[in-house]
Symmetry: C2
Subunit: 253 residues, 2 copies
């Protein structure tokens, strides 16, 4: 049985304040819950149908609490429009500055990404391209926002993220001669520019791009050229699309 | 003054049936309305603040009807959470099979894309990469859905779209020796595969990929390889992300 209090707790995880206070975040849907079960993350409560529980015997050892409920009850608790057979209340891991060797590794740095769908999609892209670390500015949307979690399609369980003062992070990197790339309208053509195997790729805010204070620390300004010949052509690409093209270019070479 | 009837008409444009019956679609927000004003599209009704009207004197000749309203009234009519100073009721253009020369042109073909955000984003990508035509299967989400329009960021006014029986379209193209590309998990590595300047790139449904009947007509199976070394790695990329990487690869060469 899914108690009223449990439903209240589940729904409270839509709000950052309550996520921070409880230390939990919400994972919804069969595939996402399966990803949580495969991960190292600690599952506080797993709510699922009897059928889902039978199909996943590992639940009993992985989840601290198992609540069997029918689809209607799950629907009542869910934040999704079309909930499925399972959802999980998961412990937030501690976000530490990841052990990152920027002399060999490539990482993404996000400067004030506001849209949760964009952040989730960027995590999914990083995951695909084998980029294990995403550093977020302190004003970037919370990675445990349910919309970020769902859009990441499980990448949230694999990618190391941290929130930090982006300027300090970049300043330290630049002192160590780490290449710092950033996307700008007037940067060098990414398709012809030499790209290193290691370094940091900074991606900027949806509306305003990379902030002025951050852009001063970018040492290699790159740009994704448009191929449009229309006089009213588009001004920009969505930040997740820009991220995917950057990751593709860095990795294919 | 924004009458109750006008508010009702505006909100009815969220539904395909009512869009089809009226022949209109909805465009919201300052930038999007500016794009509509710059386009060839016919604006039936433009609702905006006095300030917006003053800043855009061309409105009076471009819009059949101009209604000045304050922000609160626009808020009442709007489908957006954060409406701005303008929205427009725009005439749907007739969707014809575009004049497409597949011996020289590249186009995208969408096989049952369901998510309006994905379709809008794909239009924006096509626009950026100078791909002027997007052919949609009949079961692909309606291009005049307000969420598609908004996600396209104005690309909807520049890209030619049409809905058609995708199999017939591809069959005809294949008889004319037009290369038909499609993305599959087990296709040839897109980074090393020879790509032609012309042809069709088929993109498949979010959950199921390219349908079986369509995939039989694909002559060049391509794949975006993952660079992840994680044993639990991601199964797939979002379709708009796959579209962006395909377009980038076709165009950069």
């Amino acid at each position: 049985m899914l108690s009223k209090n449990k439903i209240k707790l589940i729904q409270s995880l839509n709000r950052k304040k309550e996520r921070d206070e409880s230390g939990f975040f919400l994972v919804e849907g069969n595939k996402m819950v399966e990803e949580a079960l495969r991960s190292e993350y600690q599952i506080e409560t797993l709510v699922c149908t009897a059928q889902f529980a039978n199909q996943h015997p590992e639940i009993r050892s992985k989840a601290k609490e198992l609540i069997e409920a029918d689809r209607d009850s799950i629907q009542k608790a869910s934040l999704l429009q079309n909930p499925q057979e399972a959802l999980a209340i998961v412990m937030q891991p501690e976000l530490n500055t990841p052990e990152l060797n920027l002399n060999t590794d490539l990482c993404l740095a996000l400067d004030f990404i506001q849209d949760p769908g964009n952040l989730g999609t960027i995590l999914r892209i990083a995951d695909w391209f084998g980029i294990n670390t995403v550093i977020c500015s302190e004003n970037t949307v919370d990675v445990f926002n349910p919309k970020v979690v769902q859009a990441s399609m499980g990448a949230i369980f694999r990618i190391k993220t941290n929130y930090t003062n982006l300027e300090s992070f970049l300043l330290k990197a630049s002192k160590n001669q780490i290449p710092i790339y950033g996307t700008f309208m007037d940067g060098n053509n990414i398709y012809t520019e030499p790209l290193t195997k290691n370094g940091i790729v900074v991606l900027g805010n949806e509306g305003n791009g990379i902030s002025e204070s951050t852009s001063r620390l970018v040492t290699r300004r790159i740009s994704i050229p448009t191929f449009s010949t229309n006089p009213n052509k588009a001004e920009s690409l969505n930040v997740a699309i820009a991220a995917s093209i950057c990751c593709s270019e860095f990795r294919r070479r």
